[in-house]
């Protein structure tokens, strides 16, 4: 029997759209105003897909405040996570570079967790596909699947969470 409940962390710099992605995934909505996350927001969402065992799994999503240094509190929040979505903003290339640090810190706490990289705000960068390709190449060098997402339009959001769900279940089968 497979595990059905998974802890997943949203990790990345501030204002890259972590909370917006969760809101799009949870409620299929997008808010234009920016409200920084303080500490952590926790949400629960079922991922329903025919290819999943019993057709569904449940994610407990820990949406962490962006740009926090790797303190013992953040380390404690990473602990026990089975998966993570590392989020960067395609309009700020530095946020993609910073993913290397986030991934290293997260791996030091949860080495066997599954990860996906989301290059978000793709809707704001439609005019220069070359730069997106470059950023995607940088992200792929971190050894995880990369998704180009837009919390604003909903592009690839559901797909990314569902893909993470699949990876978690596949990993769970070998636990």
């Amino acid at each position: 029997m497979h595990r059905k409940l998974f802890k997943v962390c949203m990790i990345g710099d501030f204002a890259v759209g972590k909370t917006s992605l969760v809101q799009r995934f949870m409620y299929n909505e997008f808010r234009m105003d920016y409200q920084a996350t303080i500490g952590v927001n926790i949400s629960k969402k079922e991922v329903i897909h025919p290819s999943l065992p019993a057709g569904r799994i449940t994610l407990i999503i820990w949406d962490l405040a962006g740009g926090e240094p790797f303190t013992p509190v953040v380390e404690a929040y990473y602990r026990g996570a089975m998966g993570a979505l590392f989020v960067a903003d395609v309009t700020r290339p530095s946020t993609v570079e910073h993913l290397a640090t986030y991934i290293r810190d997260f791996r030091s706490v949860s080495p066997h967790a599954q990860g996906l990289i989301l290059l978000n705000k793709i809707d704001l960068l439609s005019s220069s596909p070359t730069s997106v390709d470059e950023l995607k190449a940088v992200a792929e060098s971190f050894g995880m699947p990369v998704y180009l997402t837009s919390a604003r339009t909903g592009q690839n959001v559901e797909e990314a969470f569902t893909a993470l769900g699949h990876r978690l279940v596949e990993q769970g089968a070998y636990e």
């Binding site: 029997m1 059905k4 998974f6 926790i42 449940t58 407990i60 303190t71 013992p72 769970g172 636990e175």
Partner: protein, 414 residues
């Protein structure tokens, strides 16, 4: 003929010019004052510096008159202000009256407890005498026992939560009362515990502590942590005096019997049913305690029987007690010889302790910390050090040495 007239004009000018100037100045002053009276803002500027003093003087002279005059205006203004901006009003008042209210409530409760104590002391009815005696036996003030009866502990939920992930491993809750999502509650609780533990350990520069209790409105969450998971007991009212001991017992049983199954997703559903009986046992004990207040006479009978039984077994206690104390009192022997029978000395930790590998402060410490209140088996004693094993029953998961002042010997168990 013009000359006399001119002369008069000159004379008039000489005689009246000063008066005319004064009159003009007065007129200007009058116009300015009139303008001030007609302009509320200007009037406010003029009155503001003196109104405080004027009001104070008038209040000193005739306080009732000022109160009568201001009350209708003030009451109306306050009502309007509260209606329009409740939050700001509360924010302004709470820092001032909050501590006063808290103190008043505390004093009222203390007064109530004193009255209850006094009544129980003077009481002659059998029930109250038994209640007073029962309170003494349990080591709590009689007033508190009465409050306990008045505000019985009501269990709302019990959760077994993974220490690291915050995911629920087992649960039991009253669905008609607890309408929150248990998984979200467990995750948030874990986040709060993580935050409290790490933040306060940074402040104190000591080893991480643990959040044992959380109070939100009328709800109380009692928590005890084991090596893999912790138990959160949610309820209302006055918690049982041995609440944390019960949680420790539950944790010990769960770790001994279900540790592996709880961590195995394939067995979680099956084991949940088995564990639920333990959780409900905890709840039933709680109900038993609540009902104790209503059957005091029955309790007195049981107590009398117990006292009689204890008296009959007095010689047995007399024979066992030196053996129990052998681990506590300093002896000349370096090692205690194990007793021929399978007798265990059990102690309760008085503080969070990270055991040493040998009885030496310079020795390496184990990687796990045992929490205050944990029950451990006492294996040996050497000088100011005690050799302990955890848990009390079954194979030890942890074995090491701790300073003798960190432990209180409570009993020997068969």
């Amino acid at each position: 003929m013009n000359e006399p007239a001119d002369g008069l004009d000159v004379l008039r000018e000489i005689l009246l010019s000063q008066d005319r100037e004064t009159l003009r100045a007065l007129q200007e002053e009058l116009d300015r004052l009139k303008a001030q009276l007609d302009d509320p803002a200007a009037l406010l500027d003029r009155i503001e510096p003196i109104i405080g003093e004027a009001l104070a003087r008038r209040t000193r002279a005739n306080p009732q008159e000022v109160a009568d005059a201001l009350a209708p205006v003030m009451a109306d203004a306050l009502r309007r202000q509260i209606e329009e901006n409740k939050d700001a009003f509360v924010a302004a008042l709470v820092p001032i009256i909050g501590p006063l209210i808290a103190r008043a409530v505390q004093e009222a409760f203390q007064a109530l407890a004193r009255r209850v104590d006094e009544r129980i002391r003077r009481a002659t009815s059998i029930q109250l005498i038994v209640k007073r005696w029962w309170a003494r036996v349990r080591g709590i003030p009689p007033g508190e026992l009465v409050l306990r009866d008045a505000l019985p502990w009501r269990t709302i939920a019990v959760f077994i939560i993974d220490n690291e992930s915050g995911l629920i491993l087992a649960q039991s809750y009253q669905r008609q009362i607890f309408d929150r999502d248990p998984n979200l509650t467990a995750a948030l609780l874990t986040a709060i515990r993580n935050f409290a533990r790490e933040t306060f350990s940074q402040f104190t520069k000591k080893e991480p502590g643990t959040l044992y209790e959380l109070r939100v409105a009328s709800y109380i969450v009692l928590m005890e942590e084991g090596p893999d998971f912790y138990v959160a007991w949610v309820g209302e009212g006055v918690p049982p005096t041995d609440a944390h001991e019960r949680l420790q017992t539950l944790l010990t049983v769960l770790h001994q019997q279900y540790r592996r199954q709880l961590r195995d997703p394939a067995q979680q559903e099956k084991v949940q049913k088995a564990i639920e009986s333990f959780l409900w046992k905890l709840l039933e004990e709680d109900e038993e305690e609540s009902s104790q207040g209503t059957s005091m006479v029955g309790m007195a009978v049981v107590s009398a029987v117990l006292v009689l039984a204890l008296s009959l077994c007095g010689w047995g206690v007399y024979r066992l007690s030196p053996r129990m104390l052998a681990y506590v009192l300093p002896t000349t022997a370096k090692h205690i010889t194990p007793t021929p029978q399978a007798m265990w000395t059990v102690g309760v930790l008085q503080e969070d302790v990270t055991p040493y590998r040998s009885p030496d402060e310079r020795a390496e410490r184990l990687s796990h910390t045992l929490l205050q209140g944990s029950r451990v088996r006492v294996l040996d004693r050497e000088g100011k050090w005690v050799h302990i094993g955890y848990p009390v029953e079954g194979p030890f998961r942890l074995e090491g040495w701790i300073p003798i002042q960190s432990i209180r010997i409570v009993s020997q168990a068969p």
